[in-house]
C-alpha cells in the first residue's frame, strides 16, 4: 500500500462521500474554534471530542486505525509532561511531586488541543483519498503552485520511502543496527545521501518535464480537477 494511502480507511459513508473541499473547510473551522477556546475550559473540550466521535462514528472509521496513527502526537505529549516541571509560578503538590500550577494547566490544555487537532486531521485523512484532497484544495483556490508541490509529494513519497527502505536493508546487510547515539552519524549520513538522491531525482523530473514542452506552469485543462471527470 502506498504511504499516501496508509492513512486512509476506505469506506462508503456520508463522511467519505462529502466533497473534499467541504471537509477541509470543516476541519479548518473546527481547528480555529479549538485553538481559540480559552485554557482549562474542559467542558468545551469534551463537547468538541463528542462532535469528533459522532463524525468518526458516522464515517465508521475503526477507532484502532486512528489510535495507532496518533503516535504522531508523541512529541507534544513529551513536551506536555515536561511543562509542569519547568514552568514558573505557584507550586502545588501532585502525587508527592512539586509542580507548577500554571504549568499544569498549560500542559492539560496543550494535550487536549493537540489530541483534538490530531484526531480531526486523521479523520479527514482517513475519509479522503489523497488525490481528492488535492482536488478539494484546488477548488478552494489554493495557489496552483502549492497544489502542484503537494501532488508531487503524494506521487514521490513512495519512491523516496522505497529508497530509504533499500538503504536501510543495505545497512543492515552489512551488520549495522542503530542501537546508541554513536551510530547516529551513520544515520545522519544516510539521510544526507537520501536528500541528495531525491534532489537529483527532482532535477531529472524537471528535465523530463521540459522535454515534453513544459513552460513553467501546468497547461490549462490539465488540472487534477479536470482529470477527475
Amino acid at each position: 500500500m502506498s504511504v499516501g494511502h496508509r492513512l486512509l480507511a476506505p469506506g462508503d459513508s456520508p463522511v467519505h462521500r462529502c466533497p473534499a473541499h467541504l471537509k477541509v473547510l470543516g476541519l479548518l473551522g473546527f481547528m480555529l474554534l479549538v485553538v481559540a477556546t480559552p485554557a482549562a475550559w474542559y467542558p468545551a473540550y469534551g463537547g468538541y471530542l463528542l462532535v469528533l466521535a459522532v463524525v468518526i462514528g458516522v464515517a465508521r472509521v475503526p477507532p484502532l486505525h486512528l489510535l495507532r496513527r496518533m503516535v504522531v502526537e508523541v512529541p507534544f505529549v513529551v513536551f506536555a509532561i515536561v511543562l509542569p516541571f519547568v514552568a514558573h509560578g505557584e507550586q502545588v503538590e501532585v502525587l508527592g511531586l512539586m509542580v507548577s500550577q500554571p504549568g499544569l494547566v498549560a500542559a492539560g490544555t496543550l494535550l487536549a488541543k493537540a489530541t483534538l487537532g490530531v484526531l480531526a486531521g486523521l479523520t479527514l485523512a482517513a475519509t479522503t483519498e489523497p488525490h481528492d484532497l488535492l482536488v478539494g484544495l484546488e477548488r478552494l483556490r489554493l495557489p496552483s503552485m502549492l497544489v502542484q508541490i503537494m501532488s508531487f509529494m503524494v506521487r514521490y513519497l513512495d519512491v523516496v520511502t522505497d529508497d530509504l527502505r533499500r538503504q536501510h536493508i543495505a545497512l543492515s546487510s552489512r551488520g549495522f543496527t542503530a542501537r546508541n547515539p554513536r551510530h547516529w552519524p551513520v544515520l545522519a549520513r544516510s539521510i544526507g545521501a537520501l536528500f541528495i538522491r531525491s534532489f537529483e531525482r527532482g532535477e531529472r523530473i524537471h528535465l523530463a518535464m521540459l522535454s515534453r514542452g513544459w513552460s513553467g506552469k501546468m497547461p490549462r485543462g490539465m488540472s487534477s480537477e479536470m482529470s477527475n471527470r
Partner: protein, 246 residues
C-alpha cells in the same frame, strides 16, 4: 537526399566545470531509420541526447531537427519533434494518473478537450496500455511504467523517438514486449543502449560514440562482428552471443 530528421554537425560541449564531454560529433538520422547509439559509460551519450531537444545548448557546432535548428526561439517546436524517453520511468511519470501523464506533453502543445483525449488514448493503445489509463503510475509494474513513458512521448507525435537505455532493468518478457512495440511503431528511433543484442534486433544501423566523438557508423551486424573495433571502445557482447548467427 532528403533532409535528415536529425542533423548534428561538429557538436562540441563542455560543462561549466570545464569537463568537456563532446568534441565535434557528426550524426545524421534519416526518416524511418532506427539507429542505435553505443558507447562505454562516460562516452558522452547522455550529453548528446540532451542536446537533441535543447536542454543543453551547443558549445560549438549545430543540431537541426527536420531542418529546424535547435535554438531558444524554436524550443517548443523542437521538443514536440524530438521525444525523449528517459531511463527511469519514475522520473518521467509524475502525475496522479497514467492518463494525465500521457496528456501532459500534448496539453503543453495546446491540445484540449476531445482532441487531447483521443491523442492520449491512441498513444496508450500503441503501447498496449489503454486499459490502465486511470491507474496511478506507481501501481504499475516496471515494464508497464516504461511502456507508459514511451506513450507520454508518442502522444506528442514526435518525428524522432530518442530512447535512453530502453531495455535496462526489464525482465526478459518485458524486454521482448517492448521490442515488439518499438518494431510496430512507424517512427524514427535513436536508441542509446548497452544492450548490444537489443541493438542488433531493432536497429539496422549503429553509431559508436567514444571519448566525445563518433568512432564508427555502420550496419549494426558489421560493427558487432568487428572484434578489434569493439574492444577499442570497451564494448563487449554477452557470453555466447554471436552476431553472425542471429
Amino acid at each position: 537526399m532528403s533532409t535528415p530528421v536529425l542533423d548534428v554537425r561538429g557538436l562540441a560541449h563542455a560543462y561549466p566545470d570545464g569537463h568537456q564531454a563532446l568534441y565535434g560529433v557528426d550524426l545524421h538520422v534519416h526518416a524511418g531509420e532506427r539507429v542505435a547509439l553505443l558507447g562505454p559509460n562516460g562516452a558522452g551519450k547522455t550529453t548528446l541526447v540532451l542536446h537533441l531537444n535543447g536542454i543543453l545548448t551547443a558549445g560549438a557546432g549545430s543540431v537541426a531537427v527536420s531542418g529546424l535548428p535547435v535554438t531558444k526561439a524554436n524550443l517548443q517546436e523542437i521538443r514536440r519533434r524530438v521525444g525523449i524517453v528517459f531511463q527511469d520511468p519514475d522520473d518521467q511519470l509524475f502525475m496522479p494518473r497514467v492518463r494525465d501523464d500521457v496528456a501532459f506533453g500534448p496539453a503543453n502543445l495546446g491540445l484540449r478537450g476531445a482532441a487531447l483525449d483521443r491523442r492520449v488514448l491512441e498513444a496508450l493503445e500503441q503501447v498496449g496500455m489503454a486499459a490502465y489509463a486511470d491507474r496511478p503510475p506507481h501501481h504499475l509494474s516496471f515494464g508497464q511504467r516504461r511502456r507508459v513513458a514511451v506513450a507520454t512521448v508518442l502522444a506528442m507525435e514526435p518525428e524522432i523517438l530518442v530512447l535512453d537505455e530502453p531495455s535496462s532493468n526489464l525482465d526478459p518478457a518485458s524486454r521482448r514486449e517492448l521490442a515488439e512495440i518499438l518494431e510496430s511503431l512507424d517512427v524514427t528511433v535513436l536508441m542509446v543502449t548497452h544492450d548490444l543484442p537489443y541493438a542488433l534486433q531493432l536497429c539496422e544501423r549503429s553509431v559508436i560514440l567514444s571519448d566525445g566523438v563518433v568512432a564508427a557508423d555502420a550496419p549494426t551486424r558489421e560493427l558487432l562482428s568487428d572484434a578489434a573495433l569493439m574492444a577499442a571502445h570497451r564494448l563487449e557482447l554477452p557470453y555466447g552471443f554471436d552476431p553472425s548467427h542471429t
